[in-house]
């Protein structure tokens, strides 16, 4: 078991100024990284014995249209069962967002990334099975983007002829 302080030190010692931002809130810590460092930071969090974040608790996407330069963001919530600690890593993405997949680190990222892709249009490169998860396969648009209409059945239709396929 090591403390959160030691985890912070370890991560900051390893990546230094490549960690763009740190937010401490109620004994939990969130780091922001550039999309290019996403894969490297997360692999380090999983593989380094002092970090040992062996579980990806969840991976979520956000749409923040008020941030014109980088309206999308992806947050990975990590849990270390070895050290009993939690850590969040987030990254900001520009329009037409893409990010490398982390399914090779944590297979549980598969569903989370599928959901972030279908709801927000964040493409995860290298994902083995990037299909729609919660909507019908011919759905058009990204319903959790803030510019998606709140009302009306736009985008989705009742497709009984897809009965055998979905």
């Amino acid at each position: 078991m090591i403390s959160l302080e030691a985890i912070k030190e370890r991560l900051e010692g390893q990546f230094g100024s490549r960690l763009l931002d740190r937010a401490d809130f109620r004994d939990e810590v969130t780091y922001a990284v550039a999309p290019g460092d996403w894969m490297e930071v997360l692999s380090f969090c999983r593989d380094d014995p002092q970090m040992a974040f062996d579980q990806l608790d969840c991976l979520v996407g956000d749409h923040l249209p008020e941030r014109a330069a980088a309206p999308f963001q992806v947050v990975a919530h990590l849990v270390s069962h070895t050290h009993g600690q939690r850590l969040r890593i987030k990254t900001a993405l520009a329009e037409d967002p893409t990010l490398p997949t982390v399914t090779n680190l944590w297979p549980s990222a598969g569903f989370d990334e599928r959901e972030a892709w279908e709801m927000l249009g964040i493409a995860f490169e290298g994902h083995p099975d990037l299909r729609r998860l919660l909507t019908t396969e011919d759905f058009e648009g990204y319903p959790l983007r803030k510019d998606f209409p709140l009302r009306g059945t736009i985008g989705g239709r009742i497709r009984t002829e897809l009965k055998g396929k979905i």
Binding site: L134, T135, G152, T153, I158, T160, L162, K163
Partner: protein, 200 residues
Amino acid sequence: MGITGSALVNPFDRGIQATGEDSLGGPVRLPGGFAMPVQIERILGFGRSFSFWPLLFGLACCAIEMMALGGSRFDMSRFGMEAMRASPRQADGMIVAGWCSTKMAPRVVRLYEQIPDPKWVLAMGSCAISGNIWDTYGVVQGVDSLIPVDVYVPGCPPRPEALWQGLEMIRDRIKQSRHAYDGLRRIPARDALTGGTGEA
């Protein structure tokens, strides 16, 4: 002429042509001129109405109230309805309890189609009736756009008593041999018996 051959399959099913304007009046005619007095069907309906077995099927929060009706406080087994069937093949109808998403819609239709005739459908809650406040990309605006519905029970969610009243209305319809699909859809067996003109 008596009942012979294939006409014996299920002469009491409403799948066989009912003549007359009013589906309650007049004898039920079988092929070959045999007429089944409507009273027999009434007796069968009376019997059926005491063992309406719904499909074990809940879509959303309304299903919790449906379970409450099945539990000991409201206890729908008093009316022979407690045997929720897990297979549509054994069910007499379905209670659509909750909102139906566009992704679920094909499954709801399939489950409905798998229930053998005669069958009755109860739409429980505002979501199943009209989509409720979920006028969004994912929710079907009323399951009656998918399947014929016999009884609507409004509420969000309806109290178990309301669902009970709805089931009583279903029982009335069972006794009268009335179905929401009467005149709405073609039933292959019925068509085969009546030479393709069979509209009940």
